[in-house]
Symmetry: C2
Subunit: 369 residues, 2 copies
């Protein structure tokens, strides 16, 4: 049968082949060797809570059973943790999956969707994949431009707008008041996806109070970062029960695995462990800032588990990335100017940071300014 007879929808037929990220494993395969420091995907270097580890090992013993599609116990705990009703919480296989469901829920083909130029590519992937039209607002001083996002929402009558706070890939952040001001100014028929994947690493006062009575905001949280469970694939969102009801009409109900649910529940109860991770990450950020200064560069302030280091230009950043990879060190960089004058380095273990420090210093000597 001829390939052109495949009954793709018009949207799918028109899409380019693309992926949000090429994984480090694919880069390793292409290079024929493993990375010695994997500090490019903002994965936690500090493992999982011992309680989560035990819970997950135990869950392996009943892996023949499907997980609870309602994730009742975890949602109950999350609701209590955040002071909201259970009906305001929805679980997904990471924020990535939830972003896809939210876009599907709100974006008719051809409708405009607002995000920042250079912000999280997986959101863009889903918008494009559902036939939405991306409208990108440039960053301002390496932060997402709240006023610019709001202006675009009103101008385009966009049903959906994305904001990560703290931001990825720059590590910058806005204070809660500024974000709340944005929220308050949203039209009633616009939904803000507020991606707070890195919120645990941010200063007090970064997250606005959670208000599940407002139908205009979905808060996205994850167990992939501070909780160290990226490989388990579990995240959640909090919002008005009518929003969660919409997600429940279309989401893949049996999509979140049993090990992840058990681990997340246990990890949520281990605040001491998370506090320890946060302290380690703060120490790592200071390390990178000091390293950058020693090397005559600037590290951007960060409220996340990674640090953007300004190396002057996109061209230079790309050359540095390439040279670091050649030397077995995996880091990433923002995709577009002017953000791409930085490389983005995840806080690794002390050992990984030492590997990076040495490799980076050597690479900088080789790569022209």
């Amino acid at each position: 049968m001829a390939e052109n007879s495949v009954p793709f929808t018009d949207i799918v037929r028109g899409l380019p082949a693309s992926v949000p990220f090429v994984g480090p494993e694919a880069i390793e395969r292409a290079r024929g060797k493993s990375f010695r420091a994997r500090i490019g995907a903002n994965e936690s270097a500090f493992g999982v809570s011992p309680r989560a580890a035990s819970a997950m090992e135990f869950a392996l013993g009943r892996l023949s059973w499907y997980a609870d599609p309602e994730a009742h116990d975890l949602r109950e705990a999350l609701a209590a943790h955040h002071g909201v009703e259970m009906a305001a919480v929805c679980i997904g296989a990471g924020i990535d999956e939830l972003l896809g469901v939210v876009v599907r829920m709100t974006v008719e083909p051809g409708r405009p969707v607002v995000t920042s130029l250079g912000a999280y590519p997986t959101f863009n992937y889903h918008v494009t994949g559902y036939g939405g039209r991306l409208e990108t607002v440039p960053y301002k001083n390496d932060r997402e431009d709240l006023a610019g996002l709001l202006e675009a929402v009103h101008r385009l009558r966009a049903p959906l707008v994305f904001l990560a706070n703290p931001d990825n890939p720059m590590g910058s952040w806005h204070e809660a008041d500024a974000v709340q001001t944005l929220i308050d100014a949203l039209p009633p028929d616009c939904l803000l996806v507020l991606d707070e994947a890195y919120i645990e690493f941010a200063p007090e006062g970064t997250a606005p109070a959670i208000d599940s009575s407002d139908t205009r905001v979905l808060r996205m949280r994850t167990f992939s970062k501070a909780h160290g469970m990226a490989g388990a694939r579990i995240g959640y969102c909090i919002g008005h029960p009518s929003l969660i009801g919409g997600l429940n009409k279309i989401r893949n109900h049996f999509g979140v695995n049993r090990v992840a649910q058990a681990g997340a529940l246990a990890s949520l109860g281990d605040g001491d462990f998370i506090a320890g991770v946060i302290a380690e990450v703060e120490a790592g950020r200071r390390d990178y800032a000091a390293l950058a200064e020693r090397l005559g560069l600037a590290a951007l302030p960060s409220a996340t588990n990674f640090v953007a280091i300004d190396v002057g230009s996109g061209e230079r950043a790309r050359a540095i990335l390439e040279a670091l990879a050649e030397d077995g060190v995996f880091v990433r960089m923002p995709a577009v100017a002017p953000l791409d004058r930085c490389i983005r380095v995840t806080v690794g273990t002390a050992e990984e940071r030492a590997i990076f420090a040495e490799a980076f210093a050597q690479v900088l000597e080789r790569v022209p300014n």
Copy 2:
């Protein structure tokens, strides 16, 4: 903000609140007590391969890392296992997730999609969820009606048709030749989703040869049944690389977790374990058939890990299900007539089968004919 201002798409706004299945945990919560035999969701009673268990425990040690979004090692092994190219294999978080992506890939809103009346509800859930129009073909002699499905495809010019072989919920099956005849008669612009979740339990000669040069078929396989990994959420599909390319344009690339990928790879290599599971399931099916006969009922022939037992009418089946649940035994039943004259009982362990045998005999005495 008023709920009616939420920017749902027209499709989502028009959808009823529904779930494909209410999980056994939700039934337990409603009843306020646990089931003593969970033999209703066609989960394996025979655990996972010891090799898979070791691999998964090991994978827990690196859970802070995202899994390979290309699932390279597993896809390579699956391609070798099935004698196809890697580009013909796509991994998903269970067949459920893949069904959603396939529907999204092929079904424009309003287009007809063909399936059997009473077949897998999750497929229907996705079709409705993407705005497709379900056209259902009645079963014929408790088997999906291949000629009827084909007739409907041609009559409606449907882009998508679903067939489970072996079938769920009846456990019936068609021989490979009959399925291949259906495939050969499909229009070039129709895609058959051939769901083979239970294929390991079927007689030799049930699965047509896999032909990834045919753009009209996607074969769905899972690690949830014979491999005992339902809670891990991992399945795959095999088809023409142009079909897989379409899925790759829109799927959630980081959706399959690290533990599942490691376990699946190990389990695929443990043919002896799977052979043992199949033998156990065959013994269990014989048990149920003998039990039904003792009780004056007929068990339908099954090529799966469950058995449909004919209790005479839908009304009686519902009453039996209710009484069994009250007695701590979880089984399910088909949703529509005439299939709903059966209850559907998963092959449990010998102990679970004994619990069922005793409870079922007692319930039959109480529930009128």
